[in-house]
């Protein structure tokens, strides 16, 4: 119900590309769920709290009374229940492992870049992934929030809230560094999606800050195929908007080789930074398939849960 509601609100507001990308994201999350249900991935994710509610364990909610077994700690006996009969009962609570997830999507202007080689622009892809992950997590009862914009919550309205917030960020061409939470809880996970081409995203400092709180997560780097391949030739003036930088190439073809080197280096740097700080790293190019990438991302996410 909440899905269709979201879809409707966005169709009405008819933002530039949100409605489509949200719809796609919801599709993606649904297909991911099906996929997860089929594969072993389900067990790996569920054991870390995603599918956690149907058994007794540490938690706050009542789960069941069961007969006391000899040898058990006497403290566990629920005397109020046991007093009603001859048998001793133990009150068990449902196992809960609540975790806060923070998602951050870069909404800078450069994210809207789409070359003829790519299928979608980078922002669309980021939203696809971000919202799909949020949806997936929310449905397994986790608390999800948009880093720097909204506090994590597991309520039904959360997804809607996240989408609203995203929409606002996009329409404001919101550019900022990854926000640093003052007192993040240790159980938090952070998912960062960006092309990391903006100088303001200082990944190294950010990750280090969170690593100090023993927080880990996932770094998704998204690039347009054009940014990877550099298929230019001829006399060209390159420019970018937010950094207000220009680069002139007398013949772009001659620059290509050097560019490849620089770009690879940059990519490697991001990857190393992520790994150093116990973050998972995933690189996506927008001409690749969304579904496959979504699956890979969820898998990476499960890895990042594993290393607690």
């Amino acid at each position: 119900m909440s899905r269709s509601a979201i879809l409707e609100t966005f169709t009405i507001q008819s933002d530039f590309y949100l409605p489509l990308s949200i719809a796609k994201a919801l599709d993606l999350s649904a297909s991911l769920e099906r996929l997860l249900a089929k594969n072993q991935t389900v067990s790996s994710l569920s054991s870390y709290g995603l599918h956690n509610r149907k058994r007794a364990g540490l938690g706050e909610r009542f789960w069941q009374y069961r007969a006391y077994e000899i040898g058990e700690d006497a403290n566990k006996i629920d005397w109020r229940r046991s007093a009603r009969g001859d048998q001793l009962y133990v009150k068990e609570k449902e196992f809960e492992s609540l975790r806060d997830y923070y998602i951050w999507i870069d909404c800078a202007a450069s994210m809207k870049f789409l070359s003829t080689l790519g299928q979608d622009d980078k922002l669309t892809r980021s939203i696809n992934f971000g919202v799909a992950i949020a949806d997936l997590l929310l449905r397994s009862g986790d608390r999800v929030g948009l880093l720097g914009s909204s506090a994590p919550s597991s309520s039904r309205a959360t997804l809607e809230k996240i989408v609203h917030q995203l929409e606002e960020n996009i329409s404001n061409n919101f550019t900022s560094a990854v926000p640093l939470l003052i007192k993040p809880s240790k159980r938090s996970k952070i998912i960062i999606i960006s092309d990391f081409l903006n100088n303001s995203v200082n990944l190294k400092d950010t990750l280090k800050y969170y690593a100090d709180f023993e927080i880990s997560g996932l770094v998704v780097m998204i690039n347009d195929p054009c940014e990877v391949e550099f298929p230019f030739s001829g006399e060209t003036q390159f420019f970018s908007i937010e950094n207000n930088q220009e680069y002139y190439a007398g013949d772009a073809e001659l620059v290509a080789e050097q560019y490849h080197k620089v770009f690879e280096k940059h990519k490697l740097q991001i990857k190393e930074t992520a790994i150093e700080n116990r973050f998972q790293y995933y690189h996506h190019v927008t001409n690749q398939s969304v579904d496959a990438a979504g699956h890979d991302i969820v898998e990476s996410l499960s890895f990042c849960l594993a290393d607690i």
């Binding site: 060209t236 002139y248 013949d251 620059v255 050097q258 940059h266």
Partner: protein, 928 residues
């Protein structure tokens, strides 16, 4: 020098080339700008080849070449220009010939003259223009004004009077010094054209220069047309023409071709051409011309002189209008109508004989007329003595009162053969003697003479007899009288005494008589008579020729009534027809024995140029095309350069060529398709006859029409031998109407008026035998007492634009009520509306020679009803009416269908059905 620039000043633009070169070199094209987010990464990359790539030297050269080509083209280069060496600094007098000899290459002349004036304007030198056929005092004029005059000129059907021109030019040269004269000459003219040339050559001392532009064209003249008993004959002369094939065409008054023949012209000599046609056809010929020679010189006009003998017809008066078949004049008129032009006496004329003789007929026909007055006798006597033929028919009147104007002595009273009180049977005609003008005419067996006037058996009666009966009594006698002749038919001209007048033999006899009748005017007398006539009547221009040999739409006011002595086409009396409805005279473009001479170009003092365009080549377009091609090459190369010439360039240029090729090919294919596309609707309708209705745009009405006509078609198929296809809706102005014999048009008052094209198509349709049934379907409106419905108003508006004839409510005996069913009225959904058809016209004799075109076969071209026929026709599969009908009776649908069937049958069968009415009577008469 054979290269010449129209605007040499533009060449100074070539001086700009170094500047172009400079800019091309200094200012490279702007680099591409590409939005590329990872620019920040690239800052570390060292600048590679920071200087712009210069265009290579040959690209520069290419571009400079393009620039210089365009500049040169702007200067208007001409290769081997006509008259380029003319001095254009002085005042220039242009003499432009505009006679028929200039018609063949008129456009070329105008173009050349225009370009001359343009050049003079560019050089700021004054110009004077003298149009040869509009001679007047010459003065300098504005260049633009001169251009205007030239553009409005058309070649004339006469040739210039150069003697007159000489005076004007002479005057001009005396008033002005330092002038050039350019004569754009016709090359052919009367003898004075040579004089004019000599005159111009003689001016050399006074003026700067004389140039003559002459086209080396050929000329064909048709002249000296005569009409003899056998044929029309005229002279063809070709000047400067190699043997070539021309098509000779003879047209009648309305422009329809009667005769066509391909002839070879150009053997160098004069040739005589005969047009050998039956007299009836020859008499209709009005113009003879060469179809593929557009000049008045190859046109011959035929007027009344070459056409018909004039016949005066007068008979004892009977009630001719109401019972034409009983009138004695009717048969003579019928027999002569194709052979002669007949003049009648108006009723109430006091002196009919004189009136007729004033028309100067060749033959005077008197049918049973008693010549009583002395003046009549005298007039007739002079007429016959001067060579006229008096043809008389007997009758009860002449039988009693025999006068002197008979070829033989006659007995009083007639002889009756085969009557109730006679033993003798009707007599047949004996075969004609060798001496008779009727020799070899075949005599139908059923011709029988019941009554005749007998001749006294005088000596020599046999020699005067042209035809006699079996028993030897004369039937037709003739005798010379003065220079003329008196012929007597011993019978009446109607069928009361014999059935000869209704036989084909009678026509043959009349033909022979007309043939032997003299041209009553010999040429000399003709002039005298015409001179006399001119004082009383003037021969006004009727139709005049232009220089191309076509008839002009308008007759200029400068044309006067025909000077009776005129025989050559001049400015005052151009070639064409003059006269009135009764008498026409033609002025030929080339008169009798008119001498046409070629100009003599041998004078030294005159420079002669040829007008032929083949020598002059305008290089502008070639240069521009070359520039365009180079521009394309430049584009392809510079695109290719960036990518290092290789596969890509080749592929790209081939794609480009392929696209170009496709483009041209596509347009070819389109053209080809356009040629062969027929509207499938029209194909269908052409293959199968069907009913049609006009699509009004109102869905209800259109549906009703469709259903109605569908039902009617079904009924037609079931009940009649006419099996129409399914009805079709036609859109006015788009569909070809000619495919449908009848069109049903329900009036929709909200519809816009038909376009002009649609009106034209409708007019054409109605004039060529189509029938439109207008249905205002407003009959119940009348019931409510409204005077005029919107439909009626709309129809009235439309009818003002269409040639709708006079209408009347369907008379009870109209053939439309009898074509299939016997009906009293045409009912539809309503049964109170009136149905209107064309008023029947009873043709009268006097209109015959106008040959009115009645393509409609006496079918009313317009039928108007208000009964909403289609709604009443429409039925469902079970034959039940689809719409409620006003009377509600079951009969009404059936009666409506019957009316529809009658309508369709009426349009399809024409007057055949009206003739059928008489079949029974005719059969009865035959068996009797």
């Amino acid at each position: 020098m054979s290269l010449y620039f129209l605007a040499p000043i533009a060449l100074s633009g070539l001086l700009l080339l170094p500047i172009v070169y400079y800019f091309l070199k200094i200012l490279p094209p702007k680099p591409k700008r590409i939005f590329f987010p990872p620019v920040s990464l690239m800052q570390s990359i060292a600048l590679v080849e920071a200087t712009p790539s210069r265009a290579p030297w040959w690209v520069l050269l290419l571009r400079l070449l393009i620039a210089s080509l365009i500049i040169t083209a702007m200067a208007g280069p001409l290769w081997r220009p006509i008259g380029a060496s003319l001095d254009k600094k002085h005042k220039t007098l242009i003499i432009l010939d505009d006679g028929w000899a200039a018609a063949n290459d008129w456009d070329l002349r105008i173009k050349k003259t225009e370009s001359l004036i343009h050049e003079l304007r560019n050089n700021n030198s004054p110009v004077a223009l003298l149009v040869s056929n509009e001679p007047k005092n010459i003065s300098l004029m504005e260049h633009n004004y001169a251009l205007e005059i030239i553009r409005s000129l058309k070649p004339k059907s006469y040739i210039p009077n150069y003697n007159e021109l000489t005076n004007y030019v002479d005057k001009f040269t005396q008033e002005n010094s330092d002038i050039n004269i350019i004569w754009i000459s016709e090359k052919y003219g009367h003898a004075d054209i040579a004089n004019f040339m000599t005159f111009l050559a003689g001016l050399q001392n006074k003026i700067q220069n004389v140039s003559v532009f002459i086209n080396n064209n050929s000329l064909i003249t048709l002249s000296n047309m005569t009409s003899s008993q056998k044929s029309i004959r005229f002279k063809v002369k070709a000047h400067d023409l190699d043997k070539s094939l021309y098509s000779l065409v003879a047209n009648d008054q309305s422009g329809q071709t009667i005769y066509k023949k391909d002839i070879m012209i150009g053997s160098g000599k004069e040739e005589w051409i005969d047009i050998d046609l039956p007299l009836e056809l020859r008499n209709q010929i009005s113009v003879i011309k060469l179809a593929n020679d557009h000049s008045a010189s190859s046109v011959v006009l035929l007027d009344d002189h070459t056409h018909l003998k004039r016949v005066g017809l007068y008979g004892s008066m009977k009630d001719e209008q109401s019972q034409p078949l009983l009138s004695s004049l009717y048969y003579i008129d019928k027999a002569l109508s194709k052979l002669a032009s007949i003049s009648y006496v108006k009723s109430g004329d006091n002196d009919p004989v004189k009136t007729l003789l004033d028309d100067k007929p060749s033959i005077l026909i008197l049918s049973d007329v008693m010549l009583s007055s002395e003046s009549d006798k005298k007039n007739i006597e002079t007429f016959v003595e001067n060579g006229g033929i008096l043809l008389r028919f007997s009758g009860p009147l002449t039988a009693k009162n025999i006068d002197d104007f008979v070829p033989v002595r006659l007995r009083h009273n007639g002889r009756v053969l085969g009557g109730a009180l006679s033993w003798q049977t009707p007599k047949a005609i004996k075969d004609f003697d060798r001496t008779s003008p009727f020799f070899q005419l075949s005599i139908p067996k059923d011709v029988a003479i019941n009554k005749q006037i007998l001749a006294e058996p005088d000596v020599g009666l046999n020699f005067k007899t042209w035809a006699s009966l079996d028993d030897g009594t004369p039937l037709i006698t003739a005798n010379k009288f003065g220079r003329g002749m008196i012929i007597l038919f011993h019978i009446t001209a109607d069928n009361s005494w014999s059935n000869l007048p209704i036989s084909g033999l009678f026509v043959g006899m009349m033909e022979r008589i007309v043939a032997i009748s003299p041209e009553i005017f010999s040429v000399k007398e003709d002039e005298a008579i015409l001179q006399n006539a001119a004082q009383n009547i003037s021969l006004k221009p009727i139709k005049l020729l232009d220089g191309y040999g076509d008839f002009m739409d308008k007759i200029s006011e400068a044309v006067l009534a025909l000077d009776p002595l005129a025989n050559v086409s001049t400015r005052i009396n151009p070639a064409g027809f003059y006269g009135d409805n009764f008498f026409k005279r033609a002025i030929q473009p080339i008169g009798q024995d008119e001498q046409i001479e070629k100009i003599n170009l041998l004078s030294k003092n005159v420079s002669v140029y040829s007008l032929n365009s083949s020598q002059e080549i305008d290089l502008r377009s070639y240069l521009l095309i070359a520039a365009l091609v180079l521009f394309l090459i430049d584009g392809i190369l510079t695109q290719g350069l960036k990518q290092i010439p290789g596969k890509k360039v080749i592929i790209k240029s081939f794609t480009f060529l392929a696209v170009l090729h496709l483009f041209f090919y596509q347009s070819d294919v389109n053209a080809a398709e356009n040629r062969d596309v027929f509207n499938p609707k029209e194909v269908q309708s052409a293959l199968k006859s069907r009913l049609a209705y006009v699509v009004t745009g109102n869905t209800n009405i259109d549906q009703t029409s469709q259903f109605g006509l569908l039902s009617l078609s079904r009924a037609l198929r079931k009940r009649t031998s006419y099996a129409p296809g399914d009805p079709i809706g036609i859109t006015l102005g788009q569909d070809d109407l000619s495919l449908y014999p009848i069109i049903y048009w329900p009036i929709e008052p909200d519809a816009s008026e038909p376009s002009v094209g649609a009106i034209k198509a409708l007019e054409n349709y109605l004039n060529h035998g189509g029938t439109i049934v207008f249905d205002t379907h407003d009959a119940n409106n009348h019931l409510q007492g409204n005077t005029k419905s919107a439909e009626q108003v709309w129809l009235e508006k439309l009818s003002q634009k269409l040639p709708i004839p006079e209408l009347e409510p369907v008379p009870r005996d109209h053939v439309i009520t009898k074509t299939f069913y016997l009906l009293t009225n045409f009912i539809g959904r309503y049964n109170n509306g009136q149905t209107w058809v064309e008023t029947q016209v009873y043709s009268d004799i006097s209109n015959q020679d106008e040959r009115p075109i009645r393509a409609s076969d006496s079918v009313s071209s317009v039928i108007i009803t208000s009964n909403d026929l289609a709604a009443a026709w429409a039925e469902d599969d079970l034959g039940q009416p689809l719409y409620s009908l006003t009377s509600g009776s079951k009969n009404q649908h059936e009666m409506a269908l019957r009316g529809g069937i009658n309508l369709v049958m009426y349009t399809l069968t024409g007057n055949y059905k009206s003739d059928q009415v008489h079949v029974r009577d005719l059969l009865e008469r035959l068996t009797r």
